[in-house]
Amino acid sequence: MPSWDEFQPFIVTGLALGGVYALSGVGLVVLYRATGVLNLAFGAVGAMGALIAWELINNAGWDDYPAYLMCILFGGVVTLAYGLLFGPPLANRDPLVKATASLGLALILLGTMSWIWSDKARSMVLPTSNENFMVSDVLVNYTQVIGFAFGVVVTFATAAFLRYTGLGTAMRALANDREITATLGVPVRRVEAAAWLGSGLLAGVAGLLLSNLVGLDATTLTFLVISSLAAALIARLQSLVVTLVAGIVVGLVNALITPILSISEYRDMTPFVLAIVALLWLSRHREISISRSA
């Protein structure tokens, strides 16, 4: 078993990744609550935004910051476009159908990325990754700080937005009952569009941060939605604060298992093990009733 000193740096990496998982989880939950769609293309959208930023910086001669902005905007625009195009026809379908449809977008984006950028090694280092400071004996860079802080800030800002603004109230109303909300005169399409746009912008931010914290690789970044999905599922796609805590726990547990060599290679299971345990725990008091009719 590693010593406490050896565990310390893993706490930093776990918190940073956990923060971004939480950020992504919040994006997933807000969209689910407003539209009933679990967006499995969240990671792919962020990945493509990050690769576009890399392309603009390295081959189009753009400055870093406009390219980063383009990454975030790409996330917003693509997600919004998908929501506007496919949201209305799928509005009354089962959540499973809606989620599966978003898988289609993920696959299209993944295929497009493989086609355009092949599988060569690429990197995009944010300026904040080169700035660092020491905590005890652990070197912490500012991208890690931003990853964690952004997750926390976005969670509470989104919670406040949903509670105190008209648009947020409309989103919560939509989550409760779409039909009644519509009959009350709430512009459903516009509210849903705002949720799609906001979730997409978060996908762009997450893609940008994860391309630094993990690596600029289409498959990896697309795949990372799984950890965020686990955080969202632990929160039963409802609570933003639970999503935040779950995201951070997933990141931390994953990182802290890493130096324990006997179980290290199984750590990729962490998100799903935690999600399954949480869901079983949450359903522990549910009664099973079986009725038989003649």
């Binding site: 990496t13 499995l40 989620a99 280092v125 914290l213 498959t219 039963r236 796609l237 130096p259 290679e265």
Partner: protein, 445 residues
């Protein structure tokens, strides 16, 4: 009868969780192995005077004789495309055909591809031999075909010239590769770090089948040097590179050495994570051949200049020497879309070897005469390899067993160590050295 197990919401959540799990599995299946030795499109100036016409005996004269039909099989699937290797061999044959051919005969070259499906790889080999009726196989580079097809080739009397990947590409009597593959390349990287006085070696590689076989070599070499060894395996694609880099450095300890055996994108993730955590000076870093690409050197930036030691099975793409210059000229004229890099270097060498072997055939070109010519190749010298390449009758073939070490410098790879023999502590290398000692003519002695 109606069963009511869970309330609607929780059931939806479970269904979505299941869908998510399915999505994860799908992505793992898609993501898998994106092996790549990479390359660079950098413009490399040819310093020595050389023309593409140097690849044939009669400059500018097209070969008009009966074609000699040769073939190759390569893996080509999303994320894993080795077809540029035989395409470069094809480019060399085109050059030969435009400049007199092989004793006046042009080469008719057929490339088949497979998608790591054993059944498909087997059927493509049969197509080449039974339908296309190729007389010889040179230029193949497939992940699975050496394992799947080497017995069939043996039964059919074919001696294959390949760029190997699977262990069978090095451990059989009828396949001889121009490269040395991940195990012996990891051996070379391990040796380089031991020479730099590290106190322990940690080998980190993908958690995929076959990695135990690769680990054996570096482990034996490290222990023979009296140093501790530890092997780590990581699931790919790596999702927490910072943690992986930390784990490797902690395992190696102060003044230790970490050898990476990954594809370039995965190796880059770990190296970059190490840099961001200030770990690049905590240990000495080594890497097997896939890291030998200017693409990776450029992505790493100046922070890694002279701090990463990569085993190089082939010469630098910028080398100023006859074959290296001819390689760049042929690529420029006949296959400009193929990047400069180790893949195209391998394809070029295989074309050169096959051409030189076939030039020595007296009489008709048949399956038997072509394969005998391949089998008889010995002491083939090229500046792209450190030592002479050979075939010969032997239970295993590892003619590429002398390597270099390169290191990033200003966005490109430069030589760090000149050619050195891979350690014969690795049993297969020992066996090969015994074969070379028994028949010194194989290596021109």
């Amino acid at each position: 009868m109606s069963d009511k197990l869970l309330s609607g919401r929780l059931r939806h959540i479970f269904m979505l969780a299941a869908l998510g799990a399915g999505f994860a599995l799908f992505l793992v299946a898609c993501g898998g192995d994106d092996d790549d030795s990479g390359g660079s499109n950098a413009n490399v100036e040819v310093k020595e005077t050389v023309a593409a016409s140097d690849c044939g005996p009669k400059a500018g004269e097209k070969a008009t004789g009966t074609p000699i039909k040769l073939g190759a099989l390569a893996t080509k699937q999303p994320g894993t495309d080795f077809s540029e290797i035989p395409r470069m061999t094809e480019a060399y044959f085109k050059c030969v055909n435009d400049n007199g051919g092989i004793n006046g005969h042009p080469v008719d070259y057929v490339i088949e591809t497979e998608q790591t499906d054993p059944g498909q790889a087997a059927s493509q080999a049969r197509k080449l031999i039974e339908s296309e009726k190729v007389l010889g196989i040179a230029g193949s580079s497939s992940i699975i075909e050496a394992d799947v097809n080497h017995k069939y080739y043996e039964q059919q009397g074919y001696y294959v010239i390949a760029a190997g990947i699977a262990p069978s590409a090095y451990g059989t009597s009828n396949i001889s590769s121009v490269n040395m593959g991940p195990r012996y390349s990891s051996d070379g990287a391990t040796q380089a770090l031991i020479r730099k006085k590290v106190k322990k070696i940690v080998l980190v590689q993908s958690n995929v089948p076959g990695t135990e076989y690769i680990q054996e070599g570096p482990e034996l070499i490290t222990k023979a040097a009296g140093l501790p060894f530890e092997g780590l395996k990581e699931n790919v694609p790596i999702q927490d590179a910072n943690s992986v880099a930390l784990k490797a450095v902690q395992a190696a300890g102060d003044d230790g050495g970490v050898v990476l055996n990954f594809t370039p994108p995965e190796a880059l993730k770990i190296l970059q994570a190490a840099q961001q955590q200030g770990l690049q000076d905590r240990v000495k870093w080594g890497c097997s051949t896939p890291c030998n690409t200017d693409f990776l050197a450029k992505a790493l930036g100046d922070a890694w200049d002279g701090k990463l030691f990569v085993n190089a099975e082939l010469n630098l793409i910028t080398a100023d020497a006859p074959d290296s210059n001819l390689y760049r000229e042929v690529r420029k004229k006949y296959a400009p879309d193929i990047p400069l890099g180790s893949f195209s270097q391998m394809g070029f060498i295989m074309g050169r070897i096959a051409t030189e072997a076939l030039q020595g055939v007296k009489g008709e070109y048949t399956k038997d005469s072509v394969n005998k010519a391949f089998l008889d190749v010995k002491d083939f010298k090229t500046d792209i390899l450190c030592g002479p390449w050979y075939y010969g009758k032997a239970p295993l073939h590892l003619p590429n067993n002398i390597d270099r070490t390169v290191t990033p410098q200003g966005g490109t790879m430069v030589e760090n160590e000149d050619c050195f023999p891979i350690s014969d502590v690795d049993p297969a290398i020992k066996q090969v050295r015994e074969i070379e000692a028994k028949d010194p003519s194989l290596i021109g002695k």
